[in-house]
Symmetry: C2
Subunit: 242 residues, 2 copies
């Protein structure tokens, strides 16, 4: 199943404006303005100028928050998004409510305390983001993330992503039984997404420091239904079947 572009010209538009370039521009802009985000419960609030607002929207980081201000725009970043801008792109600083800067170890511990599965989820998020996929929450479909080839205004999401981990018997409780697979695959089929399982192999590392991320290995598996009609020997001579 390939990308489903939204209307004519969407693919050309996307090709002319790669996500990688938008993210680089966002990174430079945030570095130049010494941007900082405010850690609040399970999100990070961030005040962006007009240019950054445009870039954040185009790169699909966070959600704009409605305020009375005209020239500045507040964004609410999810934990994975904030940690990606902070730790991978190194373009924002994070402060707490007392305006004190938080270092990476402290932030890691905080995020892990808010979300037990954060190390795996973040590894999966950054794995996809570094390949220039646009990654958004998948809660609407009961999965961890959905991944878009480009901005959601141009293309439908291609992958429904579930993050698993083999280590220490941890699990997110999904896909433990066949009927759960059936349900998830039936849903993915009906919304034209491919189910992508990202299995995080922690290689025996425990997750006390963010540096452990470098040793994590991500295994990618796509799961599709086996269709007897499409798997017959004569499939090589079938024409135009999808």
């Amino acid at each position: 199943m390939g990308p489903r572009w939204k209307g004519k010209g969407a693919e050309a538009k996307a090709l002319a404006d790669p996500i990688s370039t938008i993210v680089s521009q966002l990174q430079s802009s945030l570095v130049q303005s010494s941007s900082q985000g405010l850690l609040m419960n399970s999100s990070v609030l961030f005040e962006a100028d007009a240019k950054q607002t445009d870039l954040l929207n185009r790169a699909c980081f966070g959600r704009p928050v409605v305020t009375a201000k005209k020239d500045k725009q507040w964004f609410q970043l999810g934990l994975e998004e904030a940690f990606y801008l902070f730790y991978v792109l190194k373009c924002i600083k994070i402060v707490n409510e007392n305006n004190c800067e938080i270092d990476s170890e402290e932030l890691w511990m905080y995020m892990t305390s808010k979300k037990e599965n954060f190390p795996n989820l973040f590894k999966a998020y950054s794995h996809l983001r570094m390949k220039n996929w646009v990654v958004r929450s998948g809660s609407q479909y009961g999965v961890d993330f959905v991944a878009y080839r480009h901005h959601p205004s141009l293309v439908h999401s291609e992958y429904a992503v579930i993050v698993l981990s083999d280590n220490n018997g941890e699990t997110n409780g999904r896909l433990m039984v066949w009927s759960d697979y059936h349900c998830t695959l039936r849903l993915c089929g009906s919304v034209a997404k491919t189910l992508l399982l990202l299995n995080i192999d922690k290689c025996g590392e425990n997750a006390t420091l963010p540096s452990c991320l470098e040793s994590y290995i991500v295994e990618e598996r796509t799961i599709t239904r086996w269709s007897p009609q499409q798997c017959r020997e004569n499939q090589t001579i079938a024409t135009g079947e999808s």
Copy 2:
């Protein structure tokens, strides 16, 4: 969400030909012919005459098996279906491969050995069947059963049924986490079914004999998404919204 009839006249047809009557006729016919089913692995094979074939098809028990015979039709019954005809309707006998009759205790033990969750699944199946719902496998949607108000040729299935049990920490592994609920509800919404959870309270009985079924209590819960738009205070004056 009400029943979705298949085309004009389907509802009238269904009303004129209630499932309860069809099942009664089937029951009489099978009793009269001293019918017996052959237990084979996880199904029961059953040879029906022309009238029984018609009634089995109309009541939606089993699947017809293609054979070369013209006047007789073989049916393959699932474990729940076979046990329902045997134990609740008392209209078939079950024999093993040596043509020896199997009694209810032995059959119960066999079925429980084939399917650990059989006592709960059967209680749920018979609960719905006794209320004249047509019950079929829900594996296509990753649920235990789907329930139809009448024959599937006249109406779409209304409920996607998952069977749960509170006792002894048993579970079928479904709906353990929120994301699993999200996934299941999103799927049910997209195929216009209501999610029906049947929780089997065993009241401390263990499941060694089929007579335990009488003490089981079935709790019915339908699960729907909460939609803020439909739950506002002024909903009583809304017109025509569904």
